[in-house]
């Protein structure tokens, strides 16, 4: 015998043992005859189960009846509550309407008072602003007048100074011109009126003066 044959044989033996066990169990469960205690216990348990079912049905019926009672009571109470709720709601609505009317009246009064107060405040503010603007305008006008007056005074002073300077410069120009005119006239008069002899006398006087001043000593 070779090794595979031995392995097949062992597997076959194991399968046979397993099949025998299964057959025994089947027999013990369904095919083997029951004992009298077990049969009595089964009948008693059947009675007990029957009684339990009967009691359960009774309890269930009672519960249904009670439930219907509760539902009917609830319905009755619901109607009653609805009526009360409506009554209360109506009362509440009336109260709220009255309160709302009162509130509206109060609000109107308050609003009127607010308007009056606002009007008075605006009038006061406007008056105050007008006074403030008047005062500021007056102050601004006074300051502006003062500034304008100062500027005008300065300008007037400068203008007077300029006029005086211009007058002086004009007078100086006139003086200069007069001096030039006199110069020219004197020269013309001298050139026309002086003879050569007169010229020579004046030249000698000038030379005498130069000699006296030691101006001519510079000549080597």
């Amino acid at each position: 015998m070779n090794l595979p044959s031995i392995i097949y044989a062992i597997i076959l033996i194991n399968l046979m043992v397993l099949l025998a066990g299964v057959c025994y169990l089947i027999y013990k469960r369904w095919l083997a005859p029951q004992s009298p205690e077990l049969a009595r216990a089964k009948s008693q348990s059947g009675v007990i189960i029957h009684d339990a079912l009967h009691e359960a049905n009774k309890v269930l019926a009672q519960a249904q009846i009670e439930g219907l009672k509760v539902v009917s009571q609830e319905k009755l109470q619901g109607k009653h509550l609805e009526e009360r709720f409506e009554t209360a709601l109506e009362g509440l609505s009336n109260d709220l309407t009255k309160q709302l009317s009162l509130s509206v009246e109060s609000a109107e009064k308050d609003y009127e008072y607010f308007l009056k107060t606002l009007e008075a405040t605006i009038s006061k503010t406007v008056s105050a602003n007008q006074e403030l603007i008047t005062a500021q305008t007056k102050r601004f006008y006074e300051e502006s007048s003062k500034q304008i007056q100062e500027v005008l005074n300065i300008e007037l002073k400068n203008t007077k100074k300029m006029v005086e300077e211009y007058g002086k410069s004009q007078m100086k120009a006139i003086d200069d011109n007069i001096a030039d005119i006199i110069d020219q006239v004197i020269r013309e008069v001298l050139s026309l009126s002086l003879s050569t002899k007169d010229h020579m006398q004046i030249v000698f006087k000038s030379l005498e003066k130069a000699k006296k001043d030691n101006t001519l000593n510079g000549i080597i």
């Binding site: 050569t196 030249v203 000698f204 003066k209 130069a210 000699k211 101006t215 001519l216």
Partner: protein, 140 residues
């Protein structure tokens, strides 16, 4: 030197003096180089003043005179008129008497002076005219 002093006494400006020396040279040349050899008086110069010139020293003496003339002191005098010859002589003689015996004058006309005179010494202008006096009064 007699000749130079003569020329100086009869001339008052540098240009006149140089012109006189030129004429003197011309006269001497005519005397020395004329065909007959006789001396002739030229212009206003007396013959005796230049009779000592010889052909050898003529040009050296002329050169010496010219150099001397250029070295003479000169006064630039500004006048409002042009003086005639006698007045110029009077003026120059006064200056030679009072200031320097060998002084020459250089007359310039300046009508702006009016009367009096002005002069320039060593580049400095000195005004002694009436115009300057008038300006003094104007400033006052």
């Amino acid at each position: 030197m007699e000749l130079f002093n003569y020329l100086l006494a009869h001339n008052y400006t540098k240009s006149d003096l140089l012109e006189s020396v030129r004429l003197l040279r011309q006269a001497a040349e005519k005397d020395l180089y004329s065909s007959d050899g006789k001396a002739r008086p030229v212009g206003l110069l007396p013959t005796k003043l230049y009779k000592d010139f010889t052909k050898e020293d003529l040009y050296s003496k002329i050169k010496e005179y010219t150099k001397k003339i250029k070295e003479l002191p000169e006064l630039t005098l500004l006048l409002p008129f042009i003086p005639d010859e006698p007045n110029l002589a009077m003026l120059t003689n006064w200056l030679r008497k009072e200031i320097n015996t060998s002084l020459l004058v250089n007359i310039k006309l300046d009508a702006h002076l009016g009367a009096g005179c002005a002069f320039i010494i060593d580049g400095v202008y000195h005004d002694y005219s009436i115009t300057k006096d008038l300006k003094k009064y104007e400033k006052k």
